[in-house]
Symmetry: C2
Subunit: 241 residues, 2 copies
């Protein structure tokens, strides 16, 4: 363990953290992964005990290649969820002088998108919990604000990148896709127009198997046509909604 006061500088330095907003989608609602702050050993973690917060933690100056690496490492440590560094998109820096009562802490917020069904089992239920967007409690620090900014960033990004596909399971239905877009963009679409537009992009291919039953007409299963999708993406496409 480090000796107290071991690290000295000629000028004051802030602490730097990386926090993550992890979005998941269960076919109906957008969800976010939060952790409950506990009274842990580290002196640096005694603020906001018992409150919910975004997963995140301090930059390891000697080991973390970038702050995205910090985000990935801390997410794994705090929630059990292991994502690759590339999956983190930067939201922005939150640097208000009083945002942490202990010392000056600058945080770099990120967001990541996961296929909820595939990772739900991997998250450590002891420490972390998935919250539906509507049920998110008040969060520690300025994490409420970070969450709002992250969501609005996602809302923007969905126009240029097919982020929806990162949230959906491999096999999905048109109603699910539409509902996801509606959840993120906070609007409603006409079902026919939505279907027409998606078909026009030619990035969906039908995928027949007997899958989940519902209480009504069974929707068609689709999967994502990777070739067409990659081509569209590299041509700099813009999903218009």
């Amino acid at each position: 363990m480090a000796i107290k006061g071991q690290y000295t500088y000629e000028y004051p330095h802030p602490a730097v953290t990386a926090d993550s907003v992890v979005f998941g989608y269960d076919g109906k609602e957008l969800k976010v992964l939060l952790i409950k702050r506990g009274a842990e050993k580290e002196a640096s973690k005694t603020a906001f005990v018992g409150e919910w917060a975004l997963p995140g933690g301090f930059l390891d100056v000697e080991k973390d290649r970038t702050v995205a690496h910090t985000a990935a490492r801390e997410l794994k440590e705090e929630t059990g969820l292991k994502l690759s560094v590339k999956e983190f998109r930067e939201v922005g820096t939150f640097s208000d002088i009083k945002r942490d009562p202990r010392e000056r802490v600058i945080t770099v917020a990120h967001y990541a998108l996961v296929k909820l069904a595939e990772v739900e089992a991997a998250t450590d239920a002891e420490k972390a919990e998935w919250f539906a967007w509507a049920d998110i409690p008040h969060l520690a620090f300025d994490h409420d604000k970070i969450l709002r900014v992250a969501f609005s960033r996602l809302k923007q990004d969905i126009h240029f990148e097919p982020v929806g596909f990162e949230l959906l399971p491999e096999v999905f239905t048109l109603p699910q896709l539409q509902n996801l877009y509606e959840s993120i963009l906070e609007v409603k679409f006409d079902r026919r127009n939505f279907a027409n537009k998606m078909k026009h992009y030619e990035i969906l291919s039908e995928y027949s198997n007997d899958m989940p039953r519902r209480g009504t007409r069974t929707p068609i299963n689709y999967r994502f046509d990777k070739d067409n999708y990659d081509r569209l993406k590299s041509n700099g496409f813009q999903l218009e909604f």
Copy 2:
């Protein structure tokens, strides 16, 4: 002056800087404000002496309210240009472990848009220089990369915010406006279609006075219709090009 080694921490802390990409437009070309790194007194500034770099500097942990304040303060100190904090838009964090050879330094890059004609006199020509986009030299640190990212961010932002108007003088002509859009988006537009589209937004109003003469037909002077523009902006408009 601070006593060496006065500031101690239990864990290593990185240094944090804020750098700025200041874009200006002279009616023909997009330009960027750069500084020449000199051998200054501060030990912290002895790297990359003599090279061109983005203006920027270290966060003052005790005084800078946010990193945007750092960016504004340093820009003023290094170039003489005084901008309000609100004019800085965040580009992103650059945190690569080896990006500064001296110690671990995380920088938060910003960009700002200025009316070149109005601020040119205010920039300290001893230390700072405006470079046309095509003539930008190799820069210190990872500032080449920061510049590229800042430009692509500007390119994106122009779709959602009428950033063009922040770069143009109060009175401008349609060809100037078109050229600005073409410079940022790196495309060419048909003059008639461009004019039609701009008129359709109803954010330009004619402004007659005898202004700059050119070697050809005198273009119509416009100014920006603030009422209509603000209304459009608050309705969440999207400039389509």
